[in-house]
């Protein structure tokens, strides 16, 4: 059925085909910093496929964001239908003899009574499906695009990291005080920027310190990070161990 007659086929030349093969890069470098000074101390190699992909697949980012938004919907919309029977079952007028059309009870959705035929009932599920590999690639492109823009700050412990007394290799403030977050924003000139802190586990001082920044600062544990959070953020501060976990989980 699919047999093809290639009348224009030409004989391939005997010379060895000349392909221009090169080896794609395997690693890209990122600075390893300490918190809260954000001073860079050393470089770490990161997989180039994850962080330095030449094409950002905006279609996959869109699919992932729609998938997350669908999953987040509560499905609490509720509409009264005929089955709810808000009115009596009494027949409104006799079947015959009035000269008007036949009419049953007041629960009929064709009457002006707020009832809808086939109205949506709570709870219902709006979640959609997305192939795991597409979501993983979207996460790669989201993190990779922030890395390329220089908005990804990796905080962690590595060889040759000499930190100050006030610095730490994990994202947490030393003291539990509400002024810590605004002070961090002021020192690094981050006013009006959306910040995202991704941590290995719950950091209580960080949560308390950034509470007064309201929507401008988001603190997430590594398991809860979504593609939407990464795309929204202007600066991302991530712990090295959390980043290793994300790379391990979302490698394709």
């Amino acid at each position: 059925m699919f047999k093809q007659i290639r009348t224009l086929a030409t004989q391939a030349s005997n010379a060895k085909p000349a392909f221009h093969i090169g080896q794609p890069p395997q690693y890209t470098l990122a600075s390893l910093r300490t918190f809260p000074s954000l001073e860079p101390h050393t470089f770490i190699p990161l997989p180039a496929k994850f962080f330095a992909a030449p094409n950002v697949r905006r279609d996959q980012l869109w699919s992932a964001v729609v998938f997350e938004a669908d999953k987040a919907r509560m499905g609490s919309g509720n509409v009264p239908t005929k089955g709810d029977k808000p009115f009596s079952n009494r027949k409104l007028r006799p079947q015959k003899g009035t000269g008007n059309a036949r009419l049953g009870d007041a629960n009929s959705p064709h009457m002006d009574n707020g009832l809808k035929p086939f109205g949506i009932k709570a709870p219902h599920d709006w979640s959609t499906d997305l192939p795991t590999k597409v979501y993983a690639q979207a996460m790669q492109h989201a993190l990779g695009s922030k890395y390329k823009e220089g908005k990804l700050y990796i905080i962690g412990e590595g060889e040759g990291v000499k930190k100050h007394e006030s610095d730490d290799s994990s994202i947490d403030f030393k003291y539990d005080h509400e002024s810590q977050g605004p002070e961090f924003v002021k020192r690094h000139n981050l006013q009006n920027l959306n910040l995202l802190f991704i941590t290995e586990d719950v950091k209580s001082n960080l949560v308390a310190g950034t509470a007064s920044l309201a929507k401008k600062a988001d603190v997430q544990v590594k398991e809860d990070v979504e593609v939407r959070d990464i795309l929204k953020a202007n600066r991302i501060y991530i712990e090295l161990s959390a980043l290793q976990w994300l790379i391990g989980k979302y490698s394709t």
Binding site: A9, S13, I21, P24, R57, E159
Partner: protein, 122 residues
């Protein structure tokens, strides 16, 4: 779709395997040619074989009648790859998808392309 309440109540999930973390290699173990500024992509490209050691060249049938040959996993200068293919066989009708790194060729030329790859890419 999320399973029904009954299905969720009667289903005991198997514990998931722990996600292995990415281990960061030491800086000394990496040659400078493995880094991003090694010149790849300008005048060069790369096509990775599948895990079963096959070339990513597939016959694609759409609408039961339109037959094309799809080459996947092309990284780097995809326009140069197209020109190289045209040098080997000027009759090929080639379209390029730069975003996804795919090349589509009109007709079923899977064996021909694989032959070129075996000679030139190995």
């Amino acid at each position: 779709m999320r399973p029904t309440l009954f299905a969720r109540a009667s289903h005991f999930p198997f514990p998931k395997a722990v996600v292995p973390r990415y281990t960061i290699p030491s800086l000394e173990s990496i040659p400078h040619t493995a880094l991003v500024n090694n010149g790849f992509g300008e005048g060069s490209y790369f096509i990775k074989k599948t895990k079963f050691n096959h070339w990513p060249v597939y016959k694609k049938i759409t609408n039961q009648s339109k037959i094309t040959t799809e080459i996947k996993r092309i990284e780097g200068d995809i326009e140069l790859f197209r020109r190289d293919l045209l040098k080997l066989n000027p009759d090929l009708k080639i379209t390029v998808n730069k975003t996804a790194g795919y090349v589509n060729i009109k007709g079923d030329v899977v064996e021909e392309i694989k032959e070129y790859f075996n000679e030139g890419l190995n």
